[in-house]
Point group: none
Chain length 254, copies 2
């Protein structure tokens, strides 16, 4: 049984870690590996450490950006080794696995790992609906990349095996189950439209827009919107803009 969980490794520095991660994935039944700007790939060290999982390296998909790697995903979880200022929902591995499993039933779900030294950048976390943190020893929390992949892939496999035997999976779906979930692209177009509207009504008044923008991104991402909700809100934005344009046009015509 092949699951639909996509593993995305962003900016991996050591090719050996890509190989070890592929091995960890395959032992847990995961096959979809996506790589964003790996420093060296393909590479003999990756191949060596993948052992019997070189098929995952052969089929790995390369991307220029995380946005590209998750464009068709509607649920994206970023791994984080510590609490961040970005207050996304923060799950334990077991909870994250259940959420990812559930999300994977109605579309593509992705689990994203940052580079070895610094983890995911805040910019990358902005593309995530939630984060997951392995509750490591506070005195020494240094799991290597493949170890983190192993633990999370293991939890995903356990969730998958449990759902197969249980059948009555816990329904944690936040959005309307009858509506198609919004894709990453839908969300980006929505944010683009919102930004446009904010400029139109001079919301920022000279202040830097970043803080407000990131707060609103967070709000709408964690809500896991469906396509219908996006349509309603974008309809509201369009009506507002149309109304403003009519008024402004009449104004210039006077």
């Amino acid at each position: 049984m092949k699951s639909t969980l996509r593993i995305v490794l962003v900016g991996t520095q050591h090719p050996g870690n890509i190989g070890s991660a592929a091995r960890a994935m395959k032992t847990m039944g995961l096959y979809e590996l996506h790589l964003v700007r790996p420093h060296k790939f393909p590479h003999p060290e990756a191949t060596a450490l993948a052992a019997g999982a070189t098929d995952l390296l052969d089929s790995a998909v390369l991307h220029e950006s995380l946005a590209d790697a998750v464009a068709d995903c509607h649920f994206v979880v970023g791994t984080s080794s510590r609490r961040r200022e970005v207050p996304l929902p923060e799950y334990l591995p077991r909870q994250a696995a259940e959420q990812l499993l559930q999300a994977g039933m109605s579309g593509n779900a992705a689990l994203v790992f940052g580079c070895e030294r610094t983890g995911l950048e805040n910019e990358d976390l902005q593309r995530c609906h939630a984060t997951v943190c392995i509750p490591a020893n506070p005195e020494y929390a240094s799991l290597n990349l493949a170890a983190a992949v192993q633990v999370l892939a293991y939890e995903f496999r356990m969730a998958m095996l449990a759902s197969g035997t249980r059948q009555e999976t816990v329904s944690i779906s936040l959005a309307d189950p009858d509506e198609a979930p919004a894709s990453h692209e839908d969300m980006e177009r929505f944010f683009g439209h919102l930004t446009e509207l904010m400029e139109h009504v001079d919301f920022h008044k000279g202040r830097a827009p970043e803080i407000v923008t990131s707060r609103l991104r967070r709000l709408y991402l964690r809500a896991q919107m469906d396509k219908r909700e996006i349509k309603i809100l974008r309809g509201l934005f369009s009506d507002t803009q149309r109304m403003l344009r009519i008024s402004q046009k009449q104004q210039t015509e006077k």
Copy 2:
């Protein structure tokens, strides 16, 4: 918090694996490493791969036999990659972790790993009270030694965190923990404001507003908004209304 679980590695062939296993242990808060007839130890490769966990290598206890390594233990679980003829209870990792935690409260408990190529010998399994098997992908079940240690140590840590120290477990907070959550009143005022704006821009165009309104309520309620987010969005509504009023006023004045 140091736990009482002892990790015993029997006949490890590659010293690097001892180092990686030590690292995996320490990330999960385990410190007691026992080695039975390692092929090469101490060794620079073990030290290199232990990263910040070399203290575990320094304090590792060497033994001539498994019998010696578990002499003072009253509960011993052997890891196994497959079902054996040995008629022992076979646990999943989560169950094994709970059993080991329980046993560790009244004495010494040990988790034993065999050598890389063949795993534990039947003779070693005879010294175990139970076995544990990680339910790996049947098409590729090749977890390396450190990966197996990582998964089992992780489950032990989860069991430990779940048992005594509940306050240490991470709660799932949806909204920013530093911001006060929106009250029921805040939400109702927010919905009132949103409704007003929708009427202002003639969003409904004669259709009954109930369906759209209830969809938007659901969206914003499930997001569990905080007061700051409400403030931002209501600010946006006000700016929009102000802009519309200015335009419309100028229009009537013309």
